[in-house]
């Protein structure tokens, strides 16, 4: 295990894996080789087959349901379920964490793997081991803390502690940093590097190419169910553009749309917006925030997770979050009241939530019905929905936004993340909003679809609509916005036009309130 990288023994070799679902070949002759003490990234667009490949490896799709061989530590393995792959030291950490919020850290770490005898758990032992495991992942919280009381970043660390407890040799991380802020992400990446130096290999699926570039040794690119190429990050001098080219099979040109903004007059203004946390009375999540939006302008909101961006947006949108304390909203010079979501919609506001599945869509519904769902009145007479119009309108949006689906009668669950997001955008475009608030509009979406979403955003602005775009990805904010506000601890800390903004300045304003700027 202590050899140099190039001569390191191979820990895993997946040979010509083919996995078919009725009618679709999800994986077609995919091969993957992972060496010991290596961080191996898998890149590909949504739907390329990355997760399917990992499910084959971890035994979610048991032996016999796929073709090809998995050679692990020199032997052909045939996992029938996750238990078997875990026993062999392969542990997968899913994007959506599998922790139980009501249980303590210790209880979660040992869930399904409890130390003890005859079904009786030895809690003293568990506690002791948990403390050691937490130290290894750099978490100093009390192991008795309930998991619901620690942040997502720490929860991710608990997951890794849980994996370490299972004597993991090959750790699979599916989008580990998707829900983390920059600090937590960095901590996690450092931890993965630390594990590598202790001989634990990792396979990492991520859309965040800068992170991959930073820590991966090898990158395997999968496209349309086929393994396209494996790149050695150092030897091949891989950069983000190189990865993107492999993923989409073409050069993506400029990722952000060229635009010349035709910015009109200020039409939307928020003054002294203050919102209280829904449960804790003394906690203000948004403090005296004032800002403006002009017609045809994309206004970016930069802030770390928990800074109050979503809270600001949702409290504006019909008081959907927290308790309203004070503040005024003006549209076209007149004060408007936004006490309920319907009032907000009627006043021309639209809110595309950051959590598509929990807040954006009814996943049981069809594309067609989802698109018209936020303003059924528009196609109804005497409360009866005109289904012909519904079909026409959803069909129009399918074409204009290029939603990839055979028909609009399909359920939204069948769409990829990017296409679901287009349905959400269509749903809000259908309400004829003047101001669209887009909260993390490209989260969990692949590179190709991201570019399309950026295009749609700029198109909407070109039609004279005002856009507020909240994002954790600074390049995206800088690429799409015309003007950027930064938020820190519920306060607006800075305001910059995009030509004066750069990542460093933004990050500084996002992490401290020292820079006071007259708004």
């Amino acid at each position: 295990m202590e050899q140099g990288l190039n001569t390191a023994p191979t820990i895993l070799e997946m040979q010509s894996i083919t996995k078919e679902f009725p009618g679709v070949k999800a994986l077609d002759n995919v091969s993957l080789t992972v060496k010991a003490s290596e961080i191996h990234a898998i890149c590909g667009e949504n739907g390329a087959g990355k997760s399917t490949l990992m499910k084959v490896l971890s035994g979610v799709y048991p032996f016999g349901t796929y073709a090809g061989d998995i050679v692990y530590e020199g032997e052909v393995v045939r996992f029938r379920d996750i238990k078997q792959s875990e026993a062999a030291g392969i542990v997968i950490i899913h994007q959506e964490l599998a922790l139980i919020p009501e249980l303590s850290i210790t209880e979660n770490i040992f869930l399904g793997n409890e130390p003890g005898r005859g079904g009786v758990i030895n809690w003293v032992e568990a506690q002791k081991e948990a403390t050691q495991l937490l130290a290894r992942v750099g978490l100093d919280d009390d192991p008795d803390t309930q998991v619901k009381n620690i942040g997502v970043g720490k929860q991710q660390l608990v997951e890794i502690a849980k994996a370490l407890n299972k004597n993991v040799k090959l750790l699979i991380l599916d989008e580990p940093t998707a829900a983390l802020n920059e600090n937590d992400s960095q901590h996690l990446l450092d931890l993965i590097l630390g594990l590598k130096s202790k001989g634990i290999s990792s396979i990492m699926i991520s859309h965040k190419l800068n992170e991959i570039e930073q820590i991966a040794d090898q990158i395997t690119i999968i496209r349309d169910g086929k393994s396209i190429e494996t790149l050695d990050v150092k030897a091949d001098g891989v950069d983000e553009d190189r990865i993107i080219r492999g993923m989409v099979g073409r050069t993506l040109g400029n990722r952000f749309p060229e635009h010349t903004a035709e910015i009109g007059e200020v039409f939307f203004e928020v003054r002294d917006w203050t919102v209280q946390h829904p449960l804790t009375a003394e906690r203000l999540v948004v403090k005296n925030s004032s800002f403006t939006v002009r017609r045809g302008e994309v206004v970016g909101f930069a802030g770390l997770m928990g800074a109050g961006r979503t809270e600001l947006a949702m409290s504006l949108f019909g008081r959907s979050y927290g308790k309203f304390i004070s503040g005024q909203v003006f549209k076209d010079g007149k004060e408007i009241k936004l006490r309920t979501v319907s009032e907000a919609i009627d006043n021309g506001l639209a809110y595309v939530s950051e959590d598509r599945k929990a807040l954006g869509l009814n996943l049981l519904d069809t594309i067609k019905r989802s698109i018209v769902s936020a303003k059924l009145r528009k196609i109804s007479k005497a409360d009866v929905v005109n289904e012909i119009q519904e079909a026409q309108i959803s069909e129009q949006y399918r074409k204009s936004l290029r939603i990839k689906t055979p028909t609009v009668e399909e359920g939204v669950t069948k769409l990829s993340g990017g296409n679901q997001q287009k349905v959400v955008l269509a749903k809000w475009m259908f309400t004829d909003p003047d101001l669209l608030i887009l909260d993390e509009p490209t989260r969990g979406i692949d590179v190709g679809a991201k570019a399309e979403i950026y295009g749609i955003i700029r198109d909407l602005a070109a039609q004279g609509k005002g856009i507020i775009m909240i994002s954790s990805e600074l390049p995206e904010l800088l690429g799409v916005s015309d003007r950027i506000y930064t938020i820190f601890e519920g306060k607006i800390t800075n305001e910059l036009t995009v030509d004066k903004a750069d990542p460093e300045t933004l990050m500084r304003s996002m992490t401290s309130s020292s820079q006071k700027v007259v708004a």
Binding site: I345, G360, N362, E387
Partner: protein, 447 residues
């Protein structure tokens, strides 16, 4: 991610047969419809033709119409993500008030019916208030209601049986009258059958138009024609059976009330804003609220509506049994809930249809009736009904976890051998997961 593109093929293609009843569509109830047909045929053979005799099917309608009426309200409650355990007690409570209103307070029969509906609405408003505005789970509110209204019935009625007048009995025991020339059958019943066929044709034409607008996969014309012909024939044969029963009988009045309610509530749930909102709240309450849906109002409406329908069911029952008694409606809630789940609704809410629930209710009705015709003891009948519920929902759940559309979809796919070609829209359902769980199918997780 190559999405299978559905193209309409010209000419006669036998593979399109799978689209006859909702191939790949969301018409899950057609799977249950197939099961209903099988059960009817089974009992028809087993009972030596007794099942489909006019007298028997008239009896089935009269005996189960109130359960089916409850199922209509129940499916809406269940779609919204709740449950109502109080329907039997609400029915009994309304029944005794209506009976006393006519006997002691000299209400005419029509005023008594209005009073009954008002009582249902008030009870519904009470329960809806607790569910929607206080936030007490419907299970608890209606469990309390089950006790309260049962006790109320026995308190008001002094645990005694109160008879109702003959005019009132028509809604439970009456039949369509004889009108016009004697053609050897009941004219109004046949006319009703024709009207239903016309509605079916209208719906089919409308459906085709909608699909055409979407520029997508309208079925071949012959499929539509065949579907209308099959369904139409079933309706007309049924109408003929009802129309040719014992002299003085025909399609029951309670059946008419049921048909009107089924048509009305199917329309309400599918085509109106409130109907869409019920599905939206049941499917994802938070997303619905962020789309401007007032979920409290929706919850209030479904609970209140349920009690009104329970009141109506209670009155029909009282009319049929000619009296209101202290134990009317015991166990109805379970029959109604069973009908809804056999009809394809999801326990977690958001899924279900009025038509499916009616078919689910008919499955239970034909089953009970057929077993009774064969003289099977009631203890065995209960066991069989329980197993049918379990298996029906079990098959449904199993199909869902396998990513399969419906029983019928499954059968047609196998019947046609390798017909699961790329134009089979059902394959999209099992498109494998991509990079994020957004695109992931409900994975067949181990265990």
């Amino acid at each position: 991610m190559s999405a299978p593109v559905t193209e309409k093929k010209g000419g006669f293609d036998i593979r399109e047969l799978k689209n006859l009843f909702g191939g790949g569509g969301s018409l899950k109830q057609f799977g249950i419809l197939g099961a209903l047909v099988v059960i009817i045929l089974f009992f028809q053979i087993w009972t030596g033709g007794k099942t489909l005799q006019p007298g028997n099917i008239i009896n089935i309608v009269q005996q189960y119409s109130y359960i089916l009426i409850l199922a209509i309200g129940m499916v809406m409650v269940i779609i919204a993500g709740h449950i109502d355990l109080s329907v039997g007690s609400v029915a009994a409570f309304t029944g005794i008030i209506v009976a006393l209103a006519m006997k002691d307070w000299n209400f005419p029969w029509w005023a008594a019916i209005i009073l009954g509906l008002v009582v249902g609405a008030l009870i519904g408003a009470w329960q809806g208030f607790w569910v929607a505005y206080v936030g007490v789970p419907a299970f608890i509110v209606t469990l309390a209601g089950m006790l309260i209204w049962r006790g109320g019935n026995q308190l008001i009625g002094d645990s005694a049986t109160v008879p109702v007048e003959a005019q009132f009995q028509v809604i439970g025991k009456g039949y369509l009258p004889e009108i016009g020339p004697n053609l050897g059958f009941n004219n109004l019943t046949m006319l009703l059958g024709v009207v239903v066929v016309l509605i079916l044709i209208g719906l089919e034409v409308r459906g085709r138009r909608t699909r055409k607008v979407m520029g997508a996969s309208a079925n071949a014309v012959w499929i539509s024609v065949l579907r209308v012909v099959i369904l139409g024939a079933i309706v007309l044969v049924a109408a003929y059976l009802f129309a040719t029963g014992r002299v003085g009988t025909s399609f029951p009045v309670s059946g008419i009330i049921l048909v009107i309610l089924v048509v009305g509530y199917s329309f309400l749930t599918n085509n109106t804003i409130i109907g869409r909102h019920i599905y939206a709240v049941g499917g994802n309450k938070h997303a619905a609220e962020l789309s401007g849906v007032n979920s409290k109002r929706v919850n209030f409406f479904v609970m209140a509506n349920m009690s009104v329908l329970a009141a109506l069911a209670g009155m029909i029952f009282v009319a049929r049994s000619q009296a209101s008694g202290p134990f009317d409606g015991t166990g109805w809630e379970l029959d109604a809930i069973a009908a809804v789940f056999i009809g394809g609704a999801a326990v977690s809410g958001g899924i279900g249809t009025v038509a499916g629930s009616i078919i689910g209710g008919l499955v239970m009705a034909v089953l009970s009736n057929g077993l009774a015709l064969k003289g099977i003891q009631s203890d065995l009948v209960q066991i069989i009904k329980g197993l049918v519920l379990l298996i029906a929902v079990g098959v449904d759940v199993f199909n869902k976890t396998q990513g399969r559309p419906s029983i019928i979809g499954l059968m047609t796919r196998k019947d046609k051998g390798g017909a699961a070609s790329s134009d089979d829209s059902t394959t999209a359902e099992v498109t494998p997961g991509g990079g994020t769980p957004d695109t992931a199918v409900p994975a067949d997780l181990p265990k």
